[in-house]
């Protein structure tokens, strides 16, 4: 019979794979940011599984990996906020279309709507 930690451990590695796949395959930048968060949550969950396995001394879960995950969640949010701000600025600069493709001609002649 499969244990709870193994079950959640296996689902966390599937989440990592799914997030990585979405990050590579989806062409939309916002969806890439979302997939990256999915990937990150899988990594955090793996930490949670390792914390749960380290239960002992009257605690149901090792507090050290838990504290690391809380730190990680805050940093992930800060990075996401920065990525979203960069994306919105790119959209503002290029007008209607957004692309991460640097060889696209439309981003060499940006609509400079924002400068005085």
């Amino acid at each position: 019979m499969i244990s709870t930690t193994t079950l959640f451990g296996l689902s966390s590695v599937i989440l990592v794979g799914l997030g990585l796949f979405g990050l590579i395959v989806n062409p939309q930048p916002l969806r890439k940011i979302l997939a990256f968060n999915l990937l990150g949550s899988g990594v955090f969950l793996l930490f949670g599984v390792i914390a749960r396995r380290g239960a002992g001394a009257g605690l149901n879960s090792d507090p050290v990996p838990q504290a690391l995950v809380i730190t990680g969640l805050v940093v992930a949010f800060a990075a996401t906020a920065l990525a979203v701000a960069l994306l919105l600025r790119l959209f503002q600069e290029t007008g209607q279309a957004i692309t991460l493709d640097t060889e696209d001609p439309s981003i060499h002649a940006p609509a400079r709507s924002n400068d005085p």
Binding site: F8, L30, R53, A81
Partner: protein, 311 residues
Amino acid sequence: MTLALAVDIGLTLLVLAVACWTLVVRDTFTSVIGFVAYGLLLALIWVRLAAPDVALTEAAMGSGLTGLLLLGAAARLQNAKNISAPPGLALRWVAGVLCALVSAGLAAMVLLLPDPAPTLAPAVVAHLPATGLGNPVTGVLLAYRAIDTLLEAVVLLPALLGVWSLAADRDWGGAPRLRYHRPDGALTLLAQVLPPFGIIVGIYLCWNGADQPGGAFQGGAVLAAMWALILTAGLAEAPPVSRRWLRWLLVAGSAVFLVIGLAGIGFADAFLAYPAGYAKPLILTIELVLTLSIAVALGLLIAGPPTRTPS
């Protein structure tokens, strides 16, 4: 099969299904809604892993604040035409196989984890009475690994500087604008009714964090979410980024943390060490100021760069 295991399997399948749906659904707005649901389900898994502190952070930060941020971006990008072509079928297959290989490698690692598992729980429990705290996670965050937490509080500031520096020259000194369109009645009502309760929950999480699940980051995230809700509904305006009090509020948490940490060199022989007997009041002081600074920093990260253009 026990009932608990059945619930866990159901929860796992639900989380994986929502994650897949979030990735494949065509509409970005729908995808973000899926991501918020995914975060809340993940918080339930954290509860099942006996980590209520992380569950609270995941629900408030991973699901709530990140969801709000992505929803705002999706709304602004609604008219954006995406001109990047999706990768071809062959490339997608290669990516799929490689990602499956990464998952398989990690899965092998999960199945081969050492037994008994290495743990620092006994060490944490042994020294917890010296800090006067009842919550071991808060003990790790603010005593044993205080340097991590200090750097984490500081890292919010460069992130905010990065966001602010994306403002155009003429927008500098303006206020961030979170309101996207004319708010409807339901949103206004929610922004009027929810914040009083949310603010109490935020303060409670911060105050209780010493002994129960909760703490500065969870409390700060809930407070930031309430602020962002009020800003989104247009019931209040964000302050201009050039305000001096705003900047003091932003750095206060890290500054108090740093000053107490430096004082530790003189009074307790090490950076970020607390003098015996004073650990709990010092930790509570840090947590209180840190909660305020974190709430303001998180709220401003959601609000985005300053602007002077009227919407």
